[in-house]
């Protein structure tokens, strides 16, 4: 029986000709990633492993981004532990404030992941790199520690759901709406333990940033990874960002899938996930009662890339944020920040009444830079809206694309871009 794209990458990294769903394998890793929350635990675990140094200093990436710039003394101690470890082990890809960014925007931008790679990261949104035709998945700190020491990780080979995409997005619809639509359809455990493999004529119409957003939120459907085929756009992106050699894997024609789901991209509408699960989706035009809001966040590993801010800017330019609404803009990397600055976006955002932050995961996980009080509501381009995710246990998060977020900031309620 043929293999899925994911299974082919796993087989190649396990040194075997073929694998099938359910097989347990040890596979070689091309990159092991951690941040300032998960790396301290991993560094402590590494001390208990007989080999307490990294297997390859070029294949470990450490990105303090969650509570960085340091939000309090304890966070500062954690960042310091990561910094000292990076220094002791001479880690090539350690990114200090000033050159760092939100990890899953940063690694592709720095060319550290390319097609065909196998990457683990101690962060659940490590699945983002499936957009590049790589297998990447989130793990915990113990896996990270063992990965750093041995260059290997154990995997249960997943089966897959195939998403066959046709058509193209209508204006105002983007990758966020596609993945929210899917999560709304299959649920937050709809792809549990499985690969989500995106194929079809519609893939070509998705920008790389759309694909990063879609792969990023595969975990929100319970997926092990979310992967796209490699096409001209992928190759152009990799040539622009990386010197690393890449390998293109394709699913076999006779690969088997647990389920095949057809989606016509032109059928999709701007979509919002209501509290407190990403599966609680509604299209914006179906929201009948006004949902008044207190805060808007545009940023994160999901939607903090240049094209996201361009979309937000198109809606916000020349308009002003509603009185009483706090608009927080967070470019995901220093390069994106600079690009937004050079394009004039940041000046316009500030003149619209928004505030612009240095790169950080900050508010997405209720860390800092935009915590919600009891009863407050936030429209956010981030990825999770669990109870207490962005602050008080009685606050609410609504997930949306950047244009909906911008329009909502202007009107002070959840709104579609064509309402402003």
């Amino acid at each position: 029986m043929g293999m899925t794209m994911t299974q082919k990458i796993l087989a190649a990294h396990a040194g075997v000709d073929s694998v099938k769903a359910g097989d347990l394998i040890m596979a070689d890793l091309d990159m092991v990633l951690g941040n300032d929350i998960t790396s301290p635990v991993a560094i402590n675990v590494l001390k208990k492993i007989k080999r307490d140094e990294v297997f390859d200093k070029n294949k470990v990436a450490l990105v303090p981004d969650h509570f960085a710039p340091n939000k309090d003394i304890k966070a500062a101690e954690q960042c310091k532990q990561v910094r000292c470890f990076a220094c002791d082990q001479d880690i090539t890809n350690y990114f200090e404030i000033g050159e760092m960014g939100v990890e899953h925007a940063l690694l592709p931008e720095k060319g550290l992941v390319v097609a065909g790679n196998l990457v683990i990261g101690a962060d659940s949104h490590t699945c983002t790199y499936g957009a590049l035709g790589a297998f990447s998945t989130g793990v915990g700190s113990t896996d990270m520690a063992v990965g750093m020491a041995t260059g290997k990780a154990w995997f249960k080979v997943p089966s897959a759901i195939q998403f066959n995409l046709t058509g193209a997005f209508k204006p105002g619809v983007s990758g966020k709406d596609l993945i929210l639509h899917i999560i709304g359809m299959i649920g937050v455990d709809g792809a549990l333990y499985k690969s989500m493999e995106f194929v079809g004529d519609g893939v070509a119409s998705l920008t790389m940033d759309d694909r990063f957003t879609v792969s990023n939120m595969a975990i929100e459907a319970g997926g092990k990874n979310g992967i796209f085929p490699v096409d001209d756009q992928t190759i152009a992106y990799m040539k622009e960002h990386s010197d690393k050699a890449y390998t293109v894997y394709e699913a076999d024609d006779d690969a088997s899938y647990d389920q095949v789901i057809d989606i016509n991209l032109s059928d999709l509408k701007p979509t919002v996930a209501f509290p407190h699960l990403p599966e609680n989706t509604k299209t914006v035009d179906a929201i009948k009662e006004p949902v008044k809001i207190d805060q808007v966040v545009i940023g994160s590993c999901t939607n903090g890339r240049f094209s996201d801010f361009k979309k937000a800017h198109d809606v916000l330019k020349g308009k002003h944020v509603a009185k009483g609404v706090r608009l927080i803009i967070i470019p995901a990397t220093q390069q994106i920040y600079l690009d937004c600055m050079e394009a004039g976006f940041l000046k316009d955002f500030i003149e619209s009444g928004g505030t612009v932050s240095t790169p950080t995961c900050g508010p997405c996980l209720g860390g800092h830079m935009g915590i919600l009080a009891a009863g407050e509501r936030c429209v956010s381009t981030t990825n999770r809206n669990f109870v207490g995710r962005m602050g008080h246990v009685d606050s609410e998060v609504y997930l949306a694309n950047p244009e909906v977020a911008a329009a909502s900031a202007i009107l002070g309620r959840i709104a579609a871009p064509d309402e402003v």
Partner: protein, 162 residues
């Protein structure tokens, strides 16, 4: 190896943000994390949990973030075992890697109620609701995972190979 304790019963999609809210992730000290375990879903959990107690939940337990702080907090709070219909995949591997016993058993989940006294035999996967006098068979782990579990987690397992 056996576990016996009182059951804390939860529903679907217990996420890692409620197991250990991110505002406490500026530490990785297990006992400090345990002080806030389940805080955003059950404020009384930390006051009522005793060594050996068992968490029972419905679908997709541990969904969300990859934070190993979640199973670490549960383990450090004294919980001996988590039984659920299904586990989110990162939580599943984290629990096995750090040696927190977990079992998938929809039949048991269906029957067991909050406060029941439950006994688990990890070698056989047998779950007994002592309060209701009913027995269930949890799903056996694949051989490789049994080896990980019996080694006491991934680090001990890997150390044997190095």
């Amino acid at each position: 190896m056996n576990a016996k304790g009182k059951v804390f019963r939860y529903g679907d999609n217990v996420d890692t943000d409620v197991i250990i809210p991110a505002r406490y992730l500026n530490t990785s000290d297990p006992l400090e994390l345990a002080e806030h375990c389940m805080e955003d879903i059950d404020k009384e959990f930390v006051n009522n949990v005793h060594k050996g107690d068992i968490i029972v939940a419905d679908d997709n337990f541990g969904c969300g973030s990859s934070r190993e702080h979640a199973p670490i907090a549960i383990k450090a709070s004294g919980v001996s075992c988590v039984i659920a219909n299904s586990f989110a995949r990162i939580f599943y591997r984290n629990a096995i890697n750090i040696g927190l016993p977990i079992l998938e058993c929809p039949e048991a989940v269906n029957t067991i109620e909050s406060g029941d006294e439950v006994e688990v035999d990890f070698d056989s996967g047998k779950i007994t609701d002592v309060t209701k006098n009913q027995t269930f068979q949890g799903q056996a782990f694949p051989e490789f995972m049994q080896e990980l579990i019996s080694a006491g987690g991934l680090v001990n397992y890997i150390n044997k190979t190095l």
